[in-house]
């Protein structure tokens, strides 16, 4: 039942859209990592105000739908001038949304570093900065890698929602082609394979990073 003629005609458009999907995933994941790291650091070491700020950010982002966040970032903030830059708005919205989860992943990983190590480090006279740089963060990074990878595959799969603010990524391109050709199975199976391939690359990168950093594990 697979119509190869339709597929070969649709492939260039799906390919172009795949580039958008990959770029959006990378940009949003990067924002998520940076914001999540900052938010986790502020929450654990930023005093009561830092703690309150980070917790509020996390509960706001986790408590509202990504759909609403997309609209707010794209339409709701004209002074910042996001309007008209759909890709940037989408990367920011998805990245900020995911950043809340990244905060929690990193926070858990940091707290998982055994207290005894910190006490030992203090005993031998290491400064606070050195303890974080040399002992806590390297181990927390390794611990959090599998969960961060999972989070970024979720980011990959939330990119289709960006189509509501006019980012034509892979899934919406599929919808466009499908509504013209009436061949849903060909188009969406191809797109599913596309997502699997992108996710595979992401997961393999993460696995190899895990292997390289194994010696850092506690």
């Amino acid at each position: 039942m697979v119509d190869l003629a339709i597929l070969s005609q649709a492939l260039p458009a799906i390919g172009t859209a795949a580039v958008v999907t990959v770029a959006l995933t990378l940009a949003a994941s990067l924002i998520s990592l940076v914001v999540g790291a900052l938010s986790a650091a502020v929450q654990l070491g930023g005093g009561p105000i830092g703690y309150a700020l980070s917790r509020t950010y996390v509960s706001l982002m986790r408590g509202t739908p990504l759909f609403v966040q997309l609209l707010v970032v794209y339409y709701g903030l004209p002074p910042i001038g996001i309007r008209g830059q759909a890709f940037l708005a989408a990367a920011l919205a998805i990245g900020l949304n995911s950043g809340a989860y990244t905060t929690e992943i990193l926070r858990a990983a940091i707290l998982a570093v055994p207290r005894g190590q910190l006490e030992a480090a203090t005993t031998i006279g290491l400064t606070w900065g050195k303890i974080w740089r040399r002992i806590v963060l390297p181990q927390a990074f390794v611990t959090s890698l599998p969960m961060l990878t999972a989070e970024f595959t979720i980011v990959l799969k939330s990119t289709p929602l960006a189509s509501v603010i006019a980012v034509t990524e892979m899934t919406y391109t599929g919808v466009l082609i499908q509504s013209r050709t009436y061949s849903a199975s060909e188009v969406f199976l191809t797109i599913a394979v596309g997502y699997i391939l992108i996710a595979q690359v992401l997961m393999r990168l993460s696995r190899s990073l895990e292997r390289r950093t194994r010696r850092l594990r506690f």
């Binding site: 649709a10 917790r55 509020t56 706001l60 339409y75 189509s163 509501v164 006019a166 034509t168 466009l176």
Partner: protein
């Protein structure tokens, strides 16, 4: 306590931002648009034959072609902003684009957006095989028959409402079989698992055209027609009026009728006043 207050403050700030979405666009939109020389059209081109894309990704269809002609009449070019439908109404209200085609006219929506005069009527119809026991598309003739509908669609809801009336009158209801796609309803009709298919008339016309191998026939229309129109932001009445005027010209010179024949295979008389349901 402070934390809690801060939390509520931030929560209400975010609510304010969402409401901020609803701020009106610029004051004299028509002059602005004319200065820019282009009208920005938000569109979800996944609704053939009203609006769809060709294999090069270009937006085409009944409404885009009409829109481009109306824009030309105003000396403007059309720029499309392609997006999923759930983003269309929020985007229009936020002023992200000037106009969007192919919106069902409802009283509820008319409170938030302005409508240009309708470009089409959405009406349901009954499809049967050429040799059929269904005498007409009247609900009395459908009573007791089996009908295929797409699940959770407006035609299904309309048929359920008609069934309630049949029940109240003590007559046998129409036996409704729900399917996922139009192809499945047509297959059920071809296999004589059902006596008829109820769906939007333009959809059924397209099905007749695509399945010339089957002896399909349109029994007629059923239920009330619902107007479909272009919608614009409430803050741009001059633009809405200008587009209505252009559409009227295109109706007078026969362009609208010609495009209806081209895209739907049939023509429809369109209302120009009092088309918003109460």
């Amino acid at each position: 306590m402070f934390k809690r207050i801060a939390k509520y403050a931030l929560a209400s700030l975010s609510v304010a931002l969402v409401i901020g979405i609803c701020q009106p666009a610029k004051a004299d939109a028509l002059a602005d648009i004319k200065a820019k020389g282009k009208i920005v059209v938000g569109i979800d081109p996944t609704f053939s034959p009203f609006e769809f894309t060709d294999s090069a990704g270009k937006v085409i269809g009944y409404d885009p072609e009409l829109m481009e002609l109306a824009a030309k009449g105003l000396g403007l070019k059309v720029e499309y902003q392609v997006m999923a439908f759930s983003g269309i109404i929020p985007g229009l209200i936020a002023g992200a684009f000037d106009v969007t085609p192919t919106i069902n006219v409802t009283a509820e929506r008319a409170k938030k957006i302005d409508y240009v005069i309708p470009t089409a009527l959405s009406v349901n119809a009954v499809l049967t095989l050429k040799e059929t026991s269904v005498k007409s598309s009247g609900i009395a003739d459908l009573s007791g028959k089996k009908c295929a509908v797409k699940q959770t669609t407006q035609p299904e809801q309309m048929m359920k409402a008609l069934n309630d009336k049949l029940k109240a009158a003590g007559k046998p209801v129409v036996d409704l079989l729900g399917f996922e796609t139009i192809e499945q309803t047509i297959a059920a009709l071809a296999d004589k698992r059902v006596d008829c298919v109820v769906d939007d008339k333009s959809v059924l016309f397209e099905a007749i055209d695509k399945r010339k191998d089957l002896p399909l026939a349109l029994a007629g229309e059923i239920g009330d027609a619902q107007p479909i129109a272009w919608a614009a932001n409430k803050s741009t009445p001059a633009l809405t009026a200008a587009l209505s005027a252009e559409l009227k010209k295109l109706k007078v010179d026969g362009t609208v009728t010609a495009l209806q024949k081209k895209y739907f295979g049939y023509t429809m008389a369109l209302p120009e006043t009092d088309f918003i349901p109460k």
